[in-house]
Symmetry: C2
Subunit: 434 residues, 2 copies
């Protein structure tokens, strides 16, 4: 099988076999197939698609390109969560210690923020001293000891995915459901998990805003999991408004601590508990979701989740004082109160634009190699359906400089539609797939 | 406009503007857009197609990437012919001097053989001393003086096409009608021609064997010509059998000389006259095709075409003695008579396989950088519809060695279907498009 024949086969709508993909991508990693041949194949995959069997093979080849963790020494059913990315989504910071506190080990490798969405790793790094770069051995040992570890993807994991993603990023082949799904699943399966819960976002702040596309992505990832013998369930959840109030790294850690203390915004708590219930069922700590909700709610309210988080932070070199006093987190020098510029009802929010306003403050990155400012961000209390009055405070901008704060405030207000029409916000959880 | 945006636009089925293509491909030639981005765009073009307006722009950008000849100093309407490639097609060697002898200048740049098809430039090089590498200035001067020049494409012509072709060749994006049509037309329009006749082959030896695809290619090239103000007509012609009897470089030159002397196989003569009539009408030397046929037939029979060919050969350093005595051409040491291995009717011929048998003898090349043996080839007299008897001689293999001759003989016989069914060969000219 020549690389040329593989490209032509997919170009003409054929199905690639496991051995064809193994040869093609193996040769790519050995630099025997050129970038320009891979990008032609990626475009053919983008336009022709891939069926479930092909995707199972592609993920297998990606997995085999690097290390696959063996967590056999960690007792229990290992379960992780993956979100397709949103604005204000600090769920992982609460969910991982919470589920672990309920007896289900959570080996969580997360990404950095890119584009309008934030990343768990950036949030964790705003905790003074927190090390997100454990090696695989340290990761495994911490899971054995604490049942929870929160790290960044290590370079040994799915190097083929990393090389393909770099090419996709510059050749217009990112927004392909098969390619997105195989990229996510190869990294998650390499963690050594037994099961996975997906949080697939829908709405203006989601990577795929349309429900139908989000659902297709969820189904594709569930099928890949099944092909690799892993149980995967998915919640479709609302991203037509930010999740919680805080947007920005230290601000979100502060809000996560509130949640770990049994308080915090209701929507983040509800989503965290919903995802926890899924994970507890998959991890055989609860018989059904109702039981899982009860278990998880108790572990939040009685401080067990907080205690697990303290152990994780300590184990990873961070200052656990963050759990008692948010003042140990970086603070932005400028605080600018956001006031509504109109009377009316919040009809809709352009969450992507709000995310980008936070990025512009320094809370995120527009290029993979730029750094983030942990202190800056937004605190937004208004939501679709809220009635607001002109001049009413609806949030705070946390910024480095006055000018940046003013620009962010203007961008946020422009992204919020206030009118006299009724709002039709999405339900927090739109659906569940398994 | 970023390269990324151009790729995405075509990926999503959009139409690229002239300025988008100019920027994208201009940056490619300056090495500011990478090969892997271009190959992704080529695959998107392959799968999404291009409309006539886009193709006109693409050809314009290809033309502008290099030199465009100004033949204003050559009096008359300059007309060239392009064939999509076949087996045994020596028409250009006769047609160019013939049309020129009738008063229409023919500035002909030809290619080398690749794959199963032969190339005019390889055939010309079998004439001792013949130089196919004139520079553009020498080409123009010879056209002024003789009205005919037969050369290879110069490196100044459409460098963008050359770079794109090299990428297409290794990324599975060759067999795209828009890409084939734009590649051909950019090179032809750069010659400084006023009009063009296309010989688009149909059948087992054609690059696109199906009539529908051949017709679409012809229409696409006609549309590109129209977008650039050039009249283009096309004949769809049979390539379900070789053209004439000779296949191989010196052997085809010998057959072309027979034709220039008013003799030679009937099919090559008929096709040459048909294409000449088209060119004479386009070149305003004949009012209609019937008049063109008469003019061209006379110029073949009274020796004027032969005389023009003598001047061309002399001007380009070749030995014009080839026109009197074929023994000045390279001769193969081994001649192996081909005998039919069956009684019956020739039902069909796999012309591609026959072309590849000639290539295996050394008459063509499988890689762009291999050399050809001018002396070797095939002389085949059987045609679909012929009744043959077992043991009857049906041709001769001209080879370097006995073993190669035997292999070629076996390959040719295997490529000819002899049965008791009736044959349904294609008519020599299947249709005309303008």
């Amino acid at each position: 099988v020549t690389p040329y024949a593989v490209i032509r086969k997919k170009r003409d709508g054929g199905r690639l076999s496991r051995s064809e993909m193994k040869e093609f991508f193996g040769a790519f990693l050995r630099d025997e197939v050129a970038d320009y041949q891979v990008s032609a194949l990626l475009m053919a995959i983008f336009l022709r698609g891939m069926d479930d069997a092909e995707l199972g093979h592609l993920v297998g080849v990606m997995l085999e390109s690097g290390a696959v963790l063996d967590l056999g020494t960690v007792p229990g059913v290992k379960v992780d969560k993956h979100s397709t990315g949103g604005v204000g989504d600090k769920v992982s910071l609460v969910l991982a210690p919470l589920v672990s506190a309920c007896g289900v080990p959570v080996p969580m490798m997360s990404g950095r923020g890119l584009g309008h969405t934030g990343g768990t790793v950036d949030k964790l790094e705003s905790i003074p001293g927190f090390r997100i770069g454990l090696d695989l051995e340290a990761f495994r040992r911490q899971l054995e000891r604490i049942g929870c570890a929160l790290i960044t993807q290590t370079p040994e994991i799915a190097p083929l995915d990393r090389r393909l993603y770099a090419l996709r990023d510059v050749t217009g082949t990112v927004e392909s459901i098969p390619l997105i799904a195989s990229s996510i699943m190869s990294k998650k399966l390499a963690e050594g998990i037994d099961a996975l819960v997906l949080d697939v976002k829908v709405g203006s702040g989601a990577f795929l805003p349309e429900r139908a596309a989000a659902e297709q992505l969820a189904r594709t990832m569930i099928a890949i999991g099944a092909a690799h013998g892993r149980r995967v369930t998915a919640l479709l959840t609302a991203m037509d408004r930010p999740l919680g109030h805080a947007i920005g790294n230290a601000l979100e850690v502060e809000e996560a601590v509130e949640l770990l203390r049994g308080a915090g915004p209701a929507d983040v708590r509800e989503l965290t508990l919903g995802l926890a219930a899924e994970m507890l069922v998959l991890g055989r700590a609860a018989d059904d979701r109702a039981a899982g909700l009860v278990l998880a709610g108790a572990a939040l309210d009685d401080g067990r989740a907080l205690e697990t988080m303290a152990r994780v932070i300590e184990a990873q070199g961070g200052n656990p004082g963050v759990l008692d006093d948010p003042a140990v987190l970086p603070q932005a020098p400028v605080r600018h109160v956001l006031e509504s510029d109109r009377d009316g009802i919040v009809t809709s929010m352009d969450v992507r634009a709000i995310g980008l306003a936070a990025v512009a403050l320094g809370a995120g990155r527009t290029r993979a190699d730029s750094t983030v400012d942990p202190a800056v961000g937004l605190h937004l209390t208004l939501r679709p359906g809220d009635r607001v009055a002109r001049g009413e405070p609806v949030g705070t901008v946390h910024a480095r400089e006055e000018e940046a704060a003013r620009r962010a405030a203007a961008a946020v207000l422009a992204a919020v539609e206030i009118s006299d029409r009724a709002a039709t916000p999405l339900p927090l959880v739109l659906g569940r797939l398994a």
